[in-house]
Amino acid sequence: MTIAHGEFPVHGRSINHDAPLEYSLEEGALRIFGFWLFLATDLVLFACLFATYVVLHGAAAGGPTEAQLFDVPGFTAETLILLTSSFTGGLGTYAMHNGSRRGLITWMIITVLLGLSFIGLEVKEFVTYATHGAPLQRSAFLSAFFTLVGTHGCHVSLGILWMLSIIYQLARRGITPITARKVFIVGLYWHFLDIVWVFIFTVVYLNGVMS
């Protein structure tokens, strides 16, 4: 499939053979750049949600507070799992650069499994809160908490579906400039979510249990 792209210059310019595979087509480099811009928009989105949380986190309105709710072993486990998944995702990209399809797919599957366990723990946390007198509707603090952490969780869930689709494409087509670009972009997305989680860990959970 990629040969067709290689025959002629794309957009009237030549192909860069020295660049890493995902950057080798001009189209690939362009899309990776575009995705960085998308991440900038997503960053602003999370910044607004964080700002809202910071404004509202004290407004428990007589209901459960952060210190009463947050469970240290639970969110520590979530954090460790997600950080590890970012590492395994990175190992996948490393395998890709070594041209190992099997290694890449294996590391991506491990990343997906870690992502799923993170989501599992988060859903369990949410259900526990909601069934123990702390649903979204209880107070402004809980509205902000569920929305901020839930938006991150939705992003992770979408990332899992996305990676499954790419694993399927890798299995069918192997490592090409196009699939390599897709792996690279979903990797950027995944690492970005990791960084957002680091902020959730500090701003929401650590601050919460210390308040």
Binding site: H11, A51, Q137, S139, S165
Partner: protein, 655 residues
């Protein structure tokens, strides 16, 4: 089932007002008429192949322009209705409730469904051609952006006849817009349609930033780029960093309304002021998003029709970039009266006054470009010249409003209304109309009629002064915005009467503008040269309209005003130009998926408006499946063979 099946009482289809009955009948008639014409002339296939599935930036530009003009009409009718209601004291032409809906839809439509598509029409037609690119960076995404906007506009306008229009103002502040004070589906229509069009706008911002930074022709360094493209870059940066704040503001209010959360309610610790902050963190940059491209157009127009290169190019670039940075730290000036305290208010007041400096630099540069130029008073140039006094006055009243202590007097009065119409109409609308007249031959291959264009200009421009100058005085006399009528003994009668007369003149000006378009479709002068204005930038080096691949050979740029320079060089030497051999051109394939995916967004949005979660969930699934199918699609582009390029170029009279 009670949540899934709607209650079908009389509230589903809006009833009870003769104006709305009239609108309902005309919507049905127009729809039947369009369907009949398409079927009778067997145009369905043509519509699908040429327009609904296109990813060509030039066609997308045409569709944006048509949509913007239609929405301009709709928003304009709202304005006429409001001014008619205010023509005399104690009028009962509109009821209070209906008036609330109309000022809400007027504002929302004019900003998000008129100004935004209008600037996007200009982005799309000019940017790739000016920088020597074959399309935008992401043509498929460009089509997605357009169709999201289109279906969002449809959803918003549907509220008029189905369920009821939003009525909490275009800013939709809670708690007024919250569930406890506004139960109807109108607010949901507002929130969901803005959310959908907002996604499209963010994608457009990303698209054009990538296009401008990565797809310029060889030799076109940033400092050789035409100023319109610079203004689009500045505007795209603002879109990227401002629109997500709107997404969050709308989403949180929607969660309040649909899921019973307490972000902005008056209970359980909610904080309505947080919404106002988030809204204006987007809302203030938004006015610069729509004004900066207009500045870019004025730069192109003034330079072309003065026959001179622009004065102070570098300072123009610097001021565009300065404005785009400063505009992020102005948002609190929309609510000085909220009581943020003297420290905060002072900071935002001073910042607001500072933004006048780079704007002033630009105005002087336009004036110096005209100074000793060979000025041609074409219609685009008329709009550009008329912009300068209007914007100067609008800027001066803006500085008055920026003085925080004095703002306690002006706030939410007609003084404010006059101010922002002055900058938004005088800036954005004049700019877009200048751009429309300027690039119309490039879009359609024929010129708009200058005579009718002059009539439209003079009516609209003089109507503008008559409409808005009395409103400054009314504001100083204490008339507040959003009041649906007023008693007779306030001393406001004459000024309101004059203002309404001015609005009618502007309305007539718009009708003449439409007549110009219709007349020129039939009788407009063909543009056979591709360069009807003796232009300076690369888009004028191409035939009008440009072939679908734009440039048969990507030009190499050696200076600013690249086309002007190459015309000068050609007139100096007779040596035949050496042409590089043609190469196959890589182009994206058309796709119906942007249209279908956006239609699914529309269906889901409609479902959520009425709390039909099942429909919303199905639509979410549909969107995910569309995205998956796109990801699995590898056959997305093709090559235009050399023979086809040769034939096309020969047919256009170009060797």
């Amino acid at each position: 089932m009670s949540t899934f099946l709607p209650h079908f009482p009389a509230t589903f289809i809006v009833t009870g007002d003769p104006l709305i009955y009239g609108a309902e009948v005309s919507i049905v008639l127009a729809t039947v008429g369009i369907l009949f014409v398409l079927t009778y002339f067997k145009k369905w296939r043509w519509l699908w192949r040429e327009w609904l599935t296109t990813v060509d930036h030039k066609k997308i530009s045409v569709m944006y322009l048509i949509a913007a003009l239609l929405m301009f009409f709709r928003g304009g009718v709202d304005a006429m209705l409001m001014r008619t209601q205010l023509i005399r004291p104690n009028m009962s032409f509109l009821q209070a409730e209906h008036y609330n809906q109309i000022f809400t839809t007027h504002g929302t439509i004019m900003i998000l469904f008129m100004a935004m598509p209008f600037i996007f029409a200009m982005f799309n037609i000019a940017v790739p051609l000016q920088i020597g690119a074959r399309d935008v960076a992401f043509p498929y995404l460009n089509a997605v952006s357009f169709w999201l906007f289109f279906f969002a506009a449809l959803l918003f306008n549907l509220s008029f006849v189905v369920g009821g229009s939003p009525d909490a103002g275009w800013v939709s502040y809670p708690p007024l817009a919250g569930l406890e004070f506004d139960r109807g589906p109108g607010e949901n229509f507002y929130l969901l349609s803005l959310q959908i069009t907002g996604i499209g706008s963010i994608a457009t911002g990303i698209n054009f930033m990538a296009t401008i930074l990565k797809m310029r022709a060889p030799g076109m360094t940033l400092m050789r780029m035409p100023l319109f493209s610079w203004s689009v870059l500045a505007s795209s940066i603002l879109i990227i960093f401002a629109f997500p704040a709107l997404t969050v503001a709308l989403a949180l209010l929607l969660i309040d309304r649909l899921a019973g959360a307490h972000f902005f309610t008056m209970f359980q610790g909610g904080n309505p002021m947080m919404y106002i902050n988030l809204f204006w963190i987007w809302g203030h940059p938004e006015v610069y998003i729509v004004i900066l491209p207009a500045f870019g157009i004025f730069s192109e127009v003034v330079s072309t029709f003065s026959g001179k290169r622009i004065f102070g190019y570098s300072s123009m670039v610097a001021s565009l970039m300065t404005i785009s940075v400063i505009s992020y730290v102005l948002w609190v000036h929309h609510f000085f009266t909220m009581g943020a305290g003297p420290g905060v208010n002072s900071f935002f007041a001073v910042a607001t006054m500072c933004v006048g400096i780079p704007t002033g630099v630009k105005v002087f540069n336009w004036l110096f470009t005209m100074y000793r130029g060979r000025i041609r008073l074409t219609v685009p140039m008329l709009w550009a010249i008329a912009f300068i006094p209007i914007f100067a006055i609008g800027g001066a009243t803006g500085v008055m409003l920026a003085a925080a202590p004095a703002d306690y007097q002006y706030h939410n009065s007609f003084f404010l209304i006059a101010h922002f119409h002055q900058v938004l109409i005088g800036g954005t609308v004049f700019g877009m109309l200048a751009g429309m007249y300027y690039w119309w031959p490039k879009m359609f291959g024929y010129m708009l009629n200058e005579r009718l264009g002059r009539w439209a200009f003079w009516l609209f421009n003089s109507g503008f002064y008559v409409t808005f100058f009395p409103q400054y005085l009314l504001g100083l006399m204490g008339m507040t915005r959003r009041m649906y009528t007023y008693p007779a003994n306030m001393g406001w009668n004459t000024l309101n009467f004059i203002s309404t007369m001015g609005a009618y003149v502007m309305g007539i000006g718009f009708i003449v503008l439409v007549m110009d378009v219709v007349y020129s479709i039939r009788f407009g002068e063909r543009d056979v040269t591709g360069d009807p204005w003796n232009g300076r930038t690369l888009e004028w080096s191409l035939p009008s309209p440009a072939p679908h691949y734009n440039f048969a050979r990507i030009p190499t740029v050696t200076s600013r005003d690249a086309w002007w320079t190459s015309k000068q060089e050609r007139s100096r030497s007779d040596a035949p130009r050496k042409l590089e051999p043609l190469q196959p051109i890589h182009m994206p394939k058309s796709s119906g998926r942007p249209f279908i995916m956006s239609a699914i967004f529309f269906i889901g949005g409609f479902g959520l408006v009425f709390n039909w979660y099942a429909l919303g969930f199905l639509a979410l699934l549909g969107v995910l499946v569309s995205m998956l199918l796109r990801s699995l699609e590898y056959d997305t582009d093709y090559y235009v063979p050399v023979e086809e390029i040769e034939q096309t170029e020969a047919a256009l009279g170009r060797a």
